[in-house]
């Protein structure tokens, strides 16, 4: 059976499973549509949260970024897992106690204000759209590779599938489908990692193989990798190139963003009890950690495999590099998607891959007769191409495709639901037309989801960065806008509507403007001479990925000061805040 047929089969089977579950538990009324009747066990909820949470960014993109950035990639690992700790400790149990459907609803009630609710909806839409745009690009990459079409075509197909998937199901469908998706994606992620770990180090556990010796030698994988990358003019794998302050800020922005992400928060509205909400976050992180501790191992091994494939012989020797005519099959198939490109600059028919931005190494390279780096590899393909590069059997490659699609779909669907809930529930029912019927509310939600997919697809055509970077922007926005309002809402009785509104607006506008300025998020104007995205232009040397931290600090200070200068919230609100902190219902 050919690889393509096999892929169709595996992906088809996994889809049949999800759709089966979705149809079987199709949402009947609005309560089910948003929060699954609040009757999901902590273990299942943890698994679903993990699937929801681990998006295309985690599955497809993260290991690729780590592979190319080495230590600098740690920000994604620590940021996205550490945020869970914040979530579990500061937010999840209290939000559950509050017992509302959506984040803007919480904001509206706590800050007794429709304006606050609208501002929260706006923040939420910015965050979710940025996030979905990253996912759509991931979906596009997976479909383009396995249907062997251009990325653009893959994206269009992906949009169609996400649409059917999210609009029919609603949350209840999605909770149980996501349990299935988690199983598919974690299996798809770890199986190839185990095989590759065995190949390279003889140790089947990727987390251990990561620090083990390369088989048949007594040099460890990481030492060997450091040696190879340095020999090719790159910086050491285990040392970063980013400044400490930038690493610090990006990690913090991702952590806080995690705890402010509307589609993750909404999960904690769905467990029946406060103690379940606490436990749920623990299970979720445990399930997430299985992938997150495998990812850096995958990254290191993928980088090693890629380099030894392109550079099988000694660096600088005449026959040290891969002959283009003898390139492996995966090279060919990925070239068709436009995500790998080769340009034989020195016309020797061989592939030279090295860091030509390193002036010192450039001299050496010139003496070898190399005329610039000839190979461009899109970082987002590393995980998908990894089993092919390692020459694993076809069924594993097909499995990885199914996993990648599961990851991208589950998150995209979760986010679309949040967008549609924000528009139908918060905006239309909450403000524009309070007496709307349940049926029309549901319809409005579905239309909103459809529009959201279109916009997200459009953004996905020309993303401002790799999937994981785009997603990092979404986290920065969440950190700077929603997180402070929620946190102060729970822990600061004195926080009032004026403070919350001012804080959210300042945080959102500042962070969005900074990202837009350097990266062209929605308007795509980056690259203008006054907005070059380099460290000299950055505020305090903080990159657009990390700027959410500054936005968050601004938000906190503005909210705090404005709250103190304006009237305190009423006694009923203050009593409510007290009450949120006590698990038992009255």
């Amino acid at each position: 059976m050919s690889l393509q047929t096999l892929t169709y089969l595996v992906v088809g089977a996994s889809f049949a499973l999800y759709i089966g579950i979705a149809v079987w538990s199709r949402a009947k009324n609005t309560r089910d549509f948003y929060v699954a009747g609040k009757g999901v066990s902590p273990l299942a909820n943890g698994m679903a949260t993990a699937a929801d949470w681990m998006s295309a960014a985690s599955f497809i993109s993260m290991a690729g970024i780590i592979a190319f950035q080495g230590y600098d990639g740690s920000v994604y690992l620590m940021g996205w897992t550490g945020g869970y700790v914040l979530l579990a400790l500061f937010l999840a149990p209290y939000l559950r106690k509050f017992g509302k459907f959506t984040v803007p609803e919480f904001i509206a009630e706590r800050y007794y204000s429709k304006t606050a609710r609208v501002v929260a909806v706006i923040c939420l839409i910015f965050v979710s759209f940025t996030y979905v745009a990253g996912q759509m690009r991931g979906v596009g990459i997976v479909f383009s590779r396995f249907l062997e079409v251009e990325v653009t075509m893959g994206l269009v197909i992906g949009m169609g599938i996400v649409f059917i998937y999210a609009v029919l199901g609603g949350m209840k469908g999605i909770t149980y489908t996501q349990v299935a998706q988690y199983c598919v994606l974690i299996f798809a992620y770890t199986v190839p990692a185990v095989f590759i770990a065995l190949q390279i180090t003889d140790n089947p556990i990727p987390q251990l193989a990561f620090g083990a010796d390369i088989s048949g030698s007594n040099v460890s994988l990481l030492d060997k990798l450091n040696e190879i990358v340095v020999d090719l003019g790159f910086s050491q794998y285990t040392n970063g190139t980013k400044s400490t302050i930038d690493i610090f800020c990006i990690t913090l922005a991702l952590m806080v963003g995690t705890a402010g992400l509307p589609h993750v928060l909404v999960r904690f509205f769905t467990v029946p009890k406060v103690r379940d909400a606490r436990l749920s976050a623990g299970y979720a992180l445990m399930f997430i950690a299985i992938l997150y501790t495998t990812a850096p191992a995958v990254g290191a091994m993928a980088r090693y495999n890629l380099l030894t494939t392109v550079q099988p012989g000694e660096i600088g020797s005449v026959d040290g590099n891969l002959k283009f005519a003898e390139r492996p099959e995966w090279f060919n198939t990925w070239q068709a998607t436009g995500l790998i490109s080769f340009d034989d600059k020195n016309g020797d028919g061989r592939v030279q891959y090295y860091n030509d931005a390193n002036p010192e190494f450039e001299k050496l390279a010139n003496s070898y007769g190399w005329r610039g780096n000839e190979l461009e590899v899109d970082r987002d393909i590393i995980v998908l191409a990894n089993p092919e590069i390692a020459q694993l059997p076809d069924w594993i490659i097909a499995l990885v495709a199914a996993g990648g699609i599961a990851a991208a779909l589950s998150t995209a669907a979760g986010l679309l639901l949040v967008i549609s809930a924000a528009i139908s529930h918060d905006l239309i029912k909450g403000i524009v037309a309070p007496d709307i019927s349940e049926k029309n509310e549901l319809l409005a939600g579905r239309i909103a989801a459809a529009v959201a997919i279109m916009v997200a697809g459009y953004l996905g055509f020309d993303p401002p960065g790799w999937v994981a970077q785009v997603v990092a922007f979404a986290f920065g926005l969440a950190a700077a806008s929603l997180f402070p309002a929620i946190l102060l809402g729970i822990f600061d009785k004195r926080a009032n509507k004026e403070g919350a509104i001012a804080g959210m607006l300042v945080g959102l506008v500042f962070t969005y403007a900074y990202i837009e300025f350097f990266k062209g998020l929605f308007l795509k104007w980056a690259g203008a001479p006054w907005g070059e995205n380099t460290v000299e232009h950055w505020f305090l040397g903080i990159s657009p990925e990390g700027i959410g931290v500054v936005g968050m600090l601004l938000n906190f200070s503005v909210a705090f000061v404005v709250s103190r200068l304006t009237p305190a919230p009423g006694a009923d609100i203050q009593a409510m805040v007290e009450n949120i902190r006590v698990p038992r219902a009255e």
Binding site: Y71, G82, A88, S220, T238, F248, R278, A289
Partner: protein
């Protein structure tokens, strides 16, 4: 209790993984520098333990002060 958890959280990620990564890297376990290991593996394991510990401890406290859900 919350402060203790946050301290551990901060030390393993920002402390060992970022600020002290270079001195920590001079200590090696297996093929890893310890700082690098904390940044890419260790901090994640600690996070998982932290949340479970918090859930267990808070639920116990809730019962002790008689504010748990019935």
């Amino acid at each position: 209790m919350l402060a203790g958890c946050m301290l551990v959280w901060f030390v393993v990620s920002y402390g060992f993984g970022i600020l002290l990564v270079d001195p920590m890297n001079s200590i090696r376990i297996g093929g890893f520098g310890l700082g690098f290991w904390f940044a890419q593996q260790g901090s994640i394991y600690v996070f998982v333990c932290l949340i479970f510990f918090y859930a267990w401890r808070m639920n116990k406290l809730d019962r002790q002060y008689n504010v748990d859900e019935q």
